[in-house]
């Protein structure tokens, strides 16, 4: 058994011949694919920009201060994600779990803001999926981004629960790093969406 332990320490089956971790490389491949996914959705939005034949129009409904606040939440969550990772690397598991929890809560706050935003659009501005091309392309694009954030929040909360049960430590650095890759990606996509859809008139 002792021999085995040594052999495994030398050869981690997740590390390939390039010295990189399989799982991390898989996540990068997924993110490349997801770029095309959001690229297609953003492309659809832009192709239909200004083509709606009935209102309300984007700048009748957008609440830029609120959405800026949401964007700030998401950007801040990228920082807390990095702090979680750093804590885990130094084997400060409690701090790591704490930062992961903060990250998840910032993400959750973003999602709730989006729920509030969508509700306002529907109830106060009469903008629904079926109202106009703007309604269709806006809700589908931002909705799929919101779904990505929601998935990330669930993922983060699972990590938090593992940390609380003592099943997460410095050995799991790569797992948390991969979570971080996903989380930062979703964050960066929001920067693109926020700029292209909300800020550019």
């Amino acid at each position: 058994m002792a021999d085995h332990a040594v052999a495994h320490a030398v050869h981690d089956p997740n590390i390939g011949n390039t010295g990189l971790d399989n799982r991390k490389m898989g996540m990068w491949a997924f993110l490349g694919s997801d770029c095309m996914f959001f690229g297609s959705l953003i492309g659809t939005y832009l192709a239909y920009k200004g083509k709606s034949i009935s209102g309300p129009l984007p700048h009748d409904v957008f609440d830029i201060p609120l959405t800026s606040y949401s964007a700030a939440l998401l950007l801040a969550s990228s920082l807390t994600m990095v702090l979680a990772l750093a804590a885990l690397q130094q084997s400060r598991v409690k701090a790591a779990g704490g930062w992961l929890f903060v990250t998840a809560m910032l993400g959750l706050h973003f999602v709730l803001n989006q729920v509030y935003e969508f509700t306002t659009f529907v109830l106060h501005h009469g903008l629904k999926l079926s109202t106009s091309l703007f309604g269709s392309s806006f809700f589908v694009l931002t909705g799929f981004h919101g779904a990505h954030v929601t998935g990330g929040v669930i993922w983060l909360l699972i990590l938090v629960s593992l940390a609380m049960r003592g099943q997460l430590d410095a050995r799991d650095y790569t797992k948390v790093e991969i979570t971080g890759l996903y989380w930062h990606f979703v964050d960066i996509v929001w920067v693109a969406i926020f700029t292209v859809i909300y800020l550019i008139p």
Binding site: G16, S33, S40, K51, S54, S130, D172
Partner: protein, 621 residues
């Protein structure tokens, strides 16, 4: 050696009951078994798609025929195209990716064995969902590229399009998961010494294919999501009345659809690049150039999609740009053909069945490529589009190309996979009948198209001059069917009483032939050290410039084999695939099913992810 024999396949290490065997296949994470599952399923769907084609050919054999009506004919050509592309050629390629890539790169498995099993079960679920539409009398009828706005609820109110849309969406998930897996496998799991340029060309072409899979499928995923929202949630993406543009579908679809063409052909090109050097007994001529050409085909493949849309009137600038890029992509393709011929030139050729299929591939694919260059010119394309000329063209590249190449691969690697030889005589019957039948079926369709026969018509009047060649085409199609009977007979004969293949029946060049046939579960008892592209050939025969063959390695000891650690089986992939299908098919049945299936999918994803996190003692990682 006695100890190693105990691990050789065929020698049962443990005896399983019938249900034990079934369970071992349902839970397997072994890339070789998953490859066999992919190959078997794909071949069955190939037969289903073939039967659909035969019914269409029967209907078109005579003018004013009434075998099937217009609606059934629409279903047949839609399901034939969808089945052959997504359920036959792609999974047959996937079967080779699964079985051969780890063997060719000297690995013991893929990077993510359980994800690999998940890809297969999701593929099978999607395929069954799509084909279950026949049972409900709701087979998709919008054509394999399902142009908007024919597919919106206004024009297709029944669930026909939904089966197609949801089936494709599930199949897309499977393809992308497999794409991530093989990208990582090829980059990260190569044996020591196997630099990128030492990778066998089949692995290279597969590598390019994985890039196309992960980058092209998101476009159709989005196109299908928009269609789903239009059909179920009242969005207006493809609704011209609200300002929506049906061309949005065409662009998104073909941004996926053209790379898809290369997803279908590149693996076959890779197989041919392995078969030719083996049977010409010399290295692939200009192998690096073949590799660069494959990369260029993959790259340009993303820049030519609008040549499928010349007839919609995109304007002279777009037409010219896509025309030029399309002609450009013929260059690397032509380079490859030259290199394949160069490989044969001066070789000491042994004519065996795999080589016949590879030669058939080169000839047929070249003809399909030539008519493809004709379409690259918009004025010519406008004459040919939506006519039987186009049908002839894409069957020459996808049947004459992909299918011939894939059959070449089956004949080539069958001895490795089964441990038995296929019969040469039956193989040649299969080849010649298929070549003859194929050309009888599709060559006259060039002519039919040029004299004006449109594709997708279910019947025609008798005075148009189309009667004779349609009858020839139908007879040809049945010859193809007969040729496949020879193949099936050959397979069963081989399994029952085929000659034992041995490790290296072809005196071949790559690593998979250095291990027993079929390979043991761990593939390589010792991880090989690779020094060249044709490493195994050099080890056997020296480098041909005076370098001596390498000395034989010492026999593998039982201790070495005992130290090999293979991943355990898992139930989660198949269960997760079922839950996903329950969720997606809920759209056709009830909201509760979506919710239950969705929650089950989430829980099972968690179980899947946690299975190897801090496992109970016994598994070191």
């Amino acid at each position: 050696m006695a100890t190693q024999a105990a691990f050789m396949p065929g020698t049962k290490v443990e005896t399983l009951t019938f249900w034990g065997t079934v369970a071992s296949w349902l839970t397997t994470v072994d890339h070789k078994r998953i490859g066999i599952l992919y190959g078997t399923s794909a071949f069955i769907f190939f037969l289903v798609g073939g039967i659909e084609a035969l019914i269409m050919r029967l209907q078109l054999a005579r003018p004013d025929n009434t075998l099937v009506g217009a609606e059934r004919f629409n279903e047949l050509f839609t399901m034939h195209g969808t089945t052959m592309i997504f359920l036959a050629v792609m999974p047959l390629s996937a079967a080779f990716f699964n079985y051969m890539i780890p063997l060719l790169i000297g690995a013991r498995d893929v990077a993510f064995p359980r994800l690999n099993a998940l890809s297969y079960w999701i593929f099978l679920s999607g395929a069954l969902l799509l084909n279950s539409s026949w049972l409900f009398g709701m087979a998709p009828d919008g054509g394999w590229f399902g142009y908007a706005n024919l597919t919106t609820t206004q024009f297709s109110p029944r669930h026909t399009i939904d089966f197609w849309m949801l089936g494709l969406q599930i199949l897309g998930i499977s393809s992308m998961l497999a794409g991530f897996n093989f990208l990582v496998t090829i980059i990260n799991m190569r044996a020591p010494g196997m630099t990128l340029m030492r990778m066998p060309v089949f692995v290279w072409m597969s590598f390019v294919t994985q890039f196309l899979l992960v980058l092209a499928f998101p476009a159709i995923t989005v196109a299908l999501i928009l269609l789903m929202f239009d059909r179920f949630f009242g969005t207006l993406f493809y609704a011209p009345a609200a300002g929506g543009d049906p061309l949005l579908w065409q662009h998104l679809f073909w941004i996926f659809g053209h790379p898809e063409v290369y997803i279908l052909i590149l693996p076959a090109m890779g197989i041919v690049s392995e078969v030719l050097p083996t049977f010409a007994r010399k290295p692939l001529f200009g192998a690096p150039v073949v590799i660069y050409s494959g990369i260029m085909i993959g790259f340009f493949g993303f820049g030519v999609w609008s040549h499928h849309m010349f007839s919609v009137g995109m304007g002279p600038v777009a037409d010219a740009a896509f025309s030029v890029s399309t002609m450009l992509i013929a260059v690397p393709t032509g380079v490859k053909i030259l290199n394949w011929i160069g490989t044969l030139w001066g070789g000491s050729i042994r004519f065996r069945t795999p080589l016949y299929f590879a030669l058939g591939f080169i000839a047929m694919f070249t003809m399909g490529g030539l008519s493809g260059v004709m379409h690259a010119s918009p004025p010519v394309d406008l004459q040919q589009t939506d006519s039987y000329f186009v049908v002839a063209h894409f069957h020459y590249v996808l049947f004459g190309g992909s299918i011939f190449g894939l059959f070449g691969g089956i004949y080539y690697w069958w001895p490795k996979i089964s441990g038995k030889m296929l019969d040469e005589r039956l193989g040649l019957w299969h080849f010649w009948l298929m070549l003859l039948g194929f050309n009888m079926t599709f060559f006259p369709q060039h002519y039919l198209g040029l004299i004006g026969m449109p594709r997708r018509i279910y019947t025609y009047a008798g005075d148009l001059g189309w009667n004779f060649w349609n009858m020839v085409s139908t007879i040809g199609a049945f010859l193809i069917a007969v040729s496949l009977l020879f193949f099936i007979a050959n397979v069963f004969r081989s399994l029952r009483s085929g000659a034992v293949a041995g490790n290296d029946p072809w005196d071949a060049r790559t690593l998979e032939w250095s291990i027993p046939s079929p390979p043991p579960v761990y593939n390589f008892a010792r991880v090989p050290q690779v020094q060249d592209r044709d490493d195994f050939w050099l080890a056997k025969h020296g480098d041909g410039h005076g370098g001596a063959p390498r000395p034989k390695a010492a026999p593998v000891t039982a201790a070495e084999i005992a130290a090999i650690h293979m991943p355990p089986t898992s139930y989660w992939p198949i269960v997760l695939a079922i839950a996903l299908t329950v969720m997606v098919s809920g759209l056709l049945i009830s909201t509760y099913q979506i919710i239950i299936g969705g929650l089950a999918t989430l829980v099972l994803m968690y179980k899947f992810a946690m299975e190897l996190h801090r496992p109970a003692s016994g598994h070191g990682h």
